[in-house]
C-alpha cells in the first residue's frame, strides 16, 4: 500500500519499522473508531509497539472491564483464574530459582558443604579458584 507493494514480514530497518508502526497504529485506531460508530460495535484495542509504548482504544459506550467480562462469558476462558494461576506458578518458579541460587551462593562461601561429595568439592574449588583469578587480575590494574 503506497509507492510499492510490501510483503508482510518483519521490517528489518528499524527506523522504517518505527515509521510504519506509527502510521499503521493510527490507521487501526481510526478503523476501530469507525466500526464502533458505523456498526454499533464494541471494540477493545490495545497495542504495544516494540519500543514498549502503549496505545489503546475502547469504545466510548463501554469499559475495558466490561469488555473483558463479556470476553469471559463469550469465550469461556477464565481470565482471572488463569491469571491467578499463572502468577502463582511464576512465584513458585522464581522462588525455586532463588533457592538454588542461595544454595550455590552458600557453597561458594564455604557454607553447608558437608553434604557435598569429593567430586562436587573439586568443582567448587575450581570455580572459586577461577573467580579468584579474575578478581586478582582486576585488582592488579588498580
Amino acid at each position: 500500500m503506497g509507492r510499492g507493494k510490501i510483503e508482510i514480514k518483519r521490517i528489518e530497518n528499524s527506523s522504517n519499522r518505527q515509521v510504519t508502526y506509527s502510521k499503521r497504529k493510527n490507521g487501526i485506531l481510526k478503523k476501530a473508531k469507525e466500526i464502533t460508530v458505523l456498526c454499533d460495535a464494541q471494540v477493545s484495542l490495545i497495542i504495544f509497539g516494540s519500543s514498549g509504548k502503549m496505545h489503546e482504544y475502547i469504545s466510548p459506550s463501554t469499559t475495558l472491564t466490561d469488555v473483558l467480562d463479556r470476553y469471559h462469558k463469550a469465550s469461556g476462558k477464565r481470565l482471572w483464574d488463569a491469571k491467578h494461576e499463572n502468577l502463582s506458578n511464576e512465584i513458585d518458579r522464581v522462588k525455586k530459582e532463588n533457592e538454588s541460587m542461595q544454595i550455590e551462593l552458600r557453597h561458594l562461601k564455604g557454607e553447608d558443604i558437608n553434604s557435598l561429595n569429593y567430586k562436587e568439592l573439586m568443582a567448587l574449588e575450581e570455580a572459586l579458584d577461577h573467580g579468584l583469578d579474575g578478581v586478582r587480575e582486576k585488582k592488579a590494574i588498580f
Copy 2:
C-alpha cells in the same frame, strides 16, 4: 471507500450495518495481524458486533493475560482485584532478590567485575579466599 463516500455515523439500515460490520471486522483483524508482523507489535483486539458475536485477535507471541498485565503496568488502571495485586508485588519482590543474587553469583565467579571499585574487589577476594579455605579443609578429610 467504495462506490461512494460515507459519513461516519451509525448505519441505520440494519442489514447494511451487518454487512459492513462483517467486512470491516475482517479488515481490522487483517490490519492487526499485519502490524504485528511488520512492526513487532503486540496487539490485543476484541470486537463485539451488535448481534453480540465476539471476534478477537491476540498477537501470537503473547496472550491476553500478558497484554492485560502490561496494560495494567502502563496505564496504572487496576483491572485485577487486590489479591492479584499482592501476587504481582510478591513476584516483583522475589525477582529483585533473584537479580541481586545473580549479580553476587557472577561476581563470585569473576564475571562482570569491571564496575567494582578496589574496596569491593578486596571484599570479594576475601570472601573467595574464605570459601576456598572451607572447601580445602573439607576436602582434606576425604
